[in-house]
Every structure is written in C-alpha cells, then in structure tokens.
Amino acid sequence: MNEQAATKDISDEIAVQINGMHKWYGDFHVLKDINLTVNAGERLVICGPSGSGKSTLIRCINRLEEHQQGDIIVDGIELTDDLKHIDAVRREVGMCFQHFNLFPHLSVLENCTLAPIWVRKTPKKEAEETAMEFLEKVKIPDQANKFPGQLSGGQQQRVAIARSLCMKPRIMLFDEPTSALDPEMISEVLDVMIDLAETGMTMLCVTHEMGFARKVAHRVIFMDQGEIIEQNEPEEFFHNPQSDRTKLFLSQILDH
C-alpha cells in the first residue's frame, strides 16, 4: 500500500539521467559504467560500504566532481565544461553535506538568504520571508539570528536543509546528512527529511539510515567498488536481496 501511494507522485518527467558514466581520481577508477534514471518526484536512497563511490556519484550530479566519460543530464541540461550549464544545474539542485558546511561568519538567516539574493537576485526582504518560512518548516525559526557555531549539530543540519530549500530547488541531494550527528539528533533531521519527502521533492540520499529508506524511498540502490550492484523497491531490497555482496552488506548493517 505504501508503494501505491508512493508511485502516484512520480511523474514521467526525467530529473536526472546518467548514461555510461565513468570517473577516475588520477589512476583510480572510482565510478564504473553508471547508468541511472531518476524521474521527477522520485526518492532514491543510495547505500553501500564506504569507498564504494556513492558520495562521488551524487557529487557528480551537481558537478562538485567532474566525470571523464559518459553523460549526465540534469533537469534537461547536460553537464559539460560549459560554466553556464553548470551554474544552471546548480541553481536547480540543492545539496546537504555530511558536515553541514554552513558559513560560520554569517547568521542562520544570512546563510539562508545569501544564495537567493546573489544567485536568484531575489529582493532582500522577500528572501528573508522565504527563509523564515523554511526555518519554520525545519522547526528552528527562533534561532534565525544566531551564528551556526552556537547551534547543535542537528540544528545546523536542519539549517543546512532550509538553506538549500530557500533556492526552491527541483532536486535535493543528501550526502550522508546524519553521519556526523550524535544519535539523539539523527531523528530530528530525518523527520525534516521525511516532511520534505511528503512534499513530492525529487531526492537522492546517500545514507545508512535503513529505517528512513524503508519509509520514504521509492528505490534503493546498492553500490560497491564503483558499480551499481543492485537496485530495487525498499521492501524487495531488504527482504529479498539478490547478490551476495548486498546480502553481506545488509547483514552487517542490520544484524545488531
């Protein structure tokens, strides 16, 4: 029943299309022949052991990492060396990092209004209103005038999510958003992400939170050594993994 409700909000429109993509760090072949299509409104969870290339994969989608072979088309724009294309993609793709990467010299509100004001050329007042709206949604409007250094890790990550949302992105990338958090703060961040999922946002999450994957993902992707090994709907993926590597991985993270 979960699936039915979920599949309804996926549209036919393609948000991210990756064809035969390879990436090397120097001589090291990090990503091998990646083929992936993500439809608008689809929520993807990418998991895999550390060093499997999952972070690198989503970082290629907004060109924080450059790929050497194959195509990546995001929201209809192909990622090439053309800076205009890169900027256009980055305007539509929001990203949350493992270490939040808030700007420590700016207040929470300024963190949220910076990109809308400078990239989208939104008037300051309007940007501030939008920012407060999103800070409200991540449940920290009262911290708006504090500096990031004065907030807890969970609060900082929620600010980081609000900051990305202020750009009204069409796609959100999450790079292990809860890995750097103390256990008691993980759920407050996941709650915000679940709320976001309910709005129909296209989401690509690298995470080890399997409970989250079960709850919101349409598809779970398992990567190992730079390859997509297996992908499936969450229920199938967890209960009926196909490859041995997936089985091993799942037994390592679930059995304790």
Partner: protein, 377 residues
Amino acid sequence: MSTATDTVPASGAYEPGSHPDLAPPPGTTGPIRWMKDNLFSSPLSTVLTLISVYIVYTVVTSAGSWLVLDAVISADSREACQAIDSGACWAVIVSRFNLSIYGFYPDAERWRLNLAFILLFVALGPILFDNFPARKHMMKFSMAYPVIAYFLVVGGMGLEPVSTHLFGGVMLTLVIGLTGITCSLPIGILLALGRYSKLPVMRMVCTMFIEFIRGVPLIALLFVASVMLNYFLPPGVEFDLLFRVLIMVTFFASAYMAEVIRGGLQSMPKGQFEAADAMGLTYWQAMRLIILPQALKVSIPGIVNTFIGLYKDTTLVLIIGLLDVLGIMRSSLADPKWNGLAHEVYLYTAIFFFISCFAMSRYSLYLERKLHTGHKR
C-alpha cells in the same frame, strides 16, 4: 550552628535536583588570594618577588630622574643643557620638533598637512569601526580621501604645488606607510587568489612575482627604484623618486601580504568552497561573500604583522636619501650644537614608532574579538 555551615551547607542539605548556585567560600577569590597564589606561594617565590620589586624600583627611579626630574626642556645647545641639569636634553627635540613632523615642507603650507592629518581620522573612522555614526555616507568620504589627501599634500587644484623633495619627517613616514598599507592589502589579496587559482598561467605569474619580490631585500628594491628604474623606462619619461619608492614599498608589502592571505585561504575547510559552489555562486561571489571574509579574519594577526613591518621598514628610505622621521632626527645629531645627543633622539623616534605600531596591534585584537562568531567547527 557554626559559621562554616552558613556558607557551605552540609551534604544532603538540599533535595536532589534542587541545589542552588552558591557563592565560592571566602578567601578563594579576590586580590589578596591572587597575590598569595602568584607572588608569595612559597618562600622562594617570596624572595624572588622582593628582589624583582627592588630591581624595578631602582630602574624606575634612575630612569625617571634622567627622563623627567633632571631633564632639560629648553636650551639652545647641548652645552647649555648640561649647564642646567644632568638629565636628558629634550631641548633638541623641542627645537627640532616641527622639522621632525613636517620635514622641509614650506611653513606657509603646513596647514595643508594638518588638515590632511585630521581628515585622515575622519576617513579611517568608518572603515575601522562599524558603529561609526552615518557610516554608509562617511564611507564615501573615506573612498575619496586618498584623492583629497593627494591634492592637499602634493598640491594642484589651486593649491601651491610642493615638490616631493621637501617631504620628510613624520609626514613622509605616514605618506609611505599609509600608501603602502592601503595599496598592499588589495594587491596582496589578488596575488593570493592568483597563486591559489586553478588557472596555470595565472598561478605561475603570481607565484613568480611573489617569490621574486620576497627573495630580494627591500633595500635592493629601493636602490632599483632610485637608480635603475629610469633605465628601464623610455627616455623622457621620468617618475618622481618618491613615487618610485611608493611602488617598490607597495610591491614588497604585497608579496608578503599575499603569502599571509594564502595561509588564510588554505586554512579554509574544503566544505566552504563546495557549499558555495553547490549553491551556484560564481567564483568572485564565493570569494567575496564566503571565502575571503573568513580567510582574512584568520589572517588578521599576520596582516597586521605585515603592516607593522612595512611601517617600520619605511625608515630604510634613508639609504636612498629620503629623510623620514628617523633620518631627519639623525641628521640633527650631525649638527655641532646638538652633537652627541643620540639617546634623546633615538628614544623620541622609538616612542613615535611604538605608539603607531602599538595602536595597530591593539586595533587588530579588537577586530579579532569583534569578528568572533562562536566556535568554528
């Protein structure tokens, strides 16, 4: 009940979870406690404290009598000084005071320097302090100040032109020091960004410039400025010596500045660049709004260090015949009337430099405190 239980209650006096914050027991804080801890903590430290007090006392009293009590303020020559009292002969400073400030600048035009000096503070105010009244409007004045100061000091626009040969003393020190400081910061930032850039040609040019300038002593650069630069320029083109010196001093300070700022850039976590990129900011936006404000903040001690170094290095222009405050005061030692008063003359110059540099250093501490925004992760 005894008095002790009045201040420090017995264990279990409060219900768990309801213990109030109490004042510390008497005798554990305050000046007497501090002296006990720091000056008289053991017999040895008591002895050392007493010896130090004695030494400080002797130095202060003897220096005090030379500097102040036995000093002579007005006299016509060194002999006259010695005839009056045995202490310092400040008369040399008094009689040369105007020279030490204005150099050989014509008497009738000195009001222009005074005005430029007063306006300097009006211009610096809004730059240095963000709670300055009407800061935004005053900032425009600060931007215009270099032009205003140029015409006031050099002349033109209806003011009598004054040749730069007549510049000297404190005003020359300030002209070189302040020009060097204001120009070297932006040039240093650009050089640092260039050296940190991904473009190979840009990086190479900036690195070569920095390494060349840094690898050559300032005195050599000043000689180049005074002797050789004219050979490199097409015939007929001649720059003023002071102008050439200003260029060299600025280049020299910029190279150091660039390295200090590059240190700041390198201390920036990679995540800050990535976050700026991911938001779609352009290179210059990311630098101006995200990276430089933080990198410059970390670099403040190094930047001010370079400023102070540059400011004191201005005394080297003595070598190529420009008389800054040190040079002009040294020249008075050659005057038969004041011959042999090196102590007074050098002390005066030292105090002048100390006051300027100490002010810069205190300001940098103030700035660091002001820019502190909670704990950096």
